[in-house]
């Protein structure tokens, strides 16, 4: 079964450093998402991306965050200058264009900001 792939599985960084989280969505999917989950808390929406542009973003997704689809397969989340509170599990998700509205999630990248 096709799956969403995320790399790396764990990322440790120093506060103030830039990080790029990478995702390979399912190949025929057209909608892409980033969510995050702080330990023990709910899964929070960050951003959705369709047709090479952001379609929605949450209040969390401020100027420090950006997304990009640099080629036909990768979808990246960049955090320009990480803060301690950015420590979380970041999930990439995708869905196709047809009537099904379910999301397919990757296994996540655990980001630890020290």
């Amino acid at each position: 079964e096709p799956e969403v792939t995320q790399t790396p599985s764990h990322q440790v960084t120093q506060m103030g450093q830039e990080v790029i989280l990478r995702c390979v969505p399912i190949s025929n999917h057209l909608y892409f998402y980033w969510y995050r989950q702080i330990l023990g808390q709910k899964v929070e929406f960050l951003v959705s991306f369709y047709n090479n542009e952001i379609s929605e973003k949450s209040e969390i997704f401020d100027d420090q965050f950006s997304v990009e689809r640099p080629d036909g397969s990768n979808f990246t989340l960049k955090i320009r200058s990480t803060k301690l509170e950015d420590s979380a599990m970041y999930f990439c998700a995708s869905r196709d264009r047809t009537g099904t509205e379910k999301l397919f999630f990757g296994s996540g990248t655990q980001l630890s900001v020290l």
Binding site: Y33, R95, F104, F105
Partner: protein, 112 residues
């Protein structure tokens, strides 16, 4: 903001018993989805129920939706130890929005 609230926060049952989890929400929805998350892993879609549906089944899963009470329930019948996971309801409001809003989840433990 729209958010599902699951109840209970944690549930512990014996293998073979049924598990029921509830989700309440505040505003109108297009559909409601249930996801499962094993510890430290991604979310896996279980079932979707649309606002004009009242009940859906998938294997050992049964989902109900009561839009007048703004609530949904997920029933897992004949639970197994492998059902141990966190279960989240996720709300799709529609109206041109494709994001899902998740609740805090119910942590289910099935004891062998």
């Amino acid at each position: 903001s729209q958010q599902g609230e699951e109840d209970p926060q944690a549930l512990s049952i014996q293998e073979g018993e049924n598990a029921t989890m509830n989700c309440s929400y505040k505003t109108s929805i297009n559909n409601l989805q249930w996801y499962r998350q094993n510890s430290g892993r991604g979310l896996v879609h279980l079932i979707l129920i649309r606002s004009n549906e009242r009940e859906k089944h998938s294997g050992r899963l049964r989902v109900t939706l009561d839009t007048s009470k703004k609530s949904s329930s997920l029933l897992i019948t004949a639970s197994r130890a492998a059902d141990t996971a966190s279960y989240f309801c996720a709300l799709a409001s529609g109206a041109g929005s494709y994001q899902l809003t998740f609740g805090k989840g119910t942590k289910l433990s099935v004891i062998p």
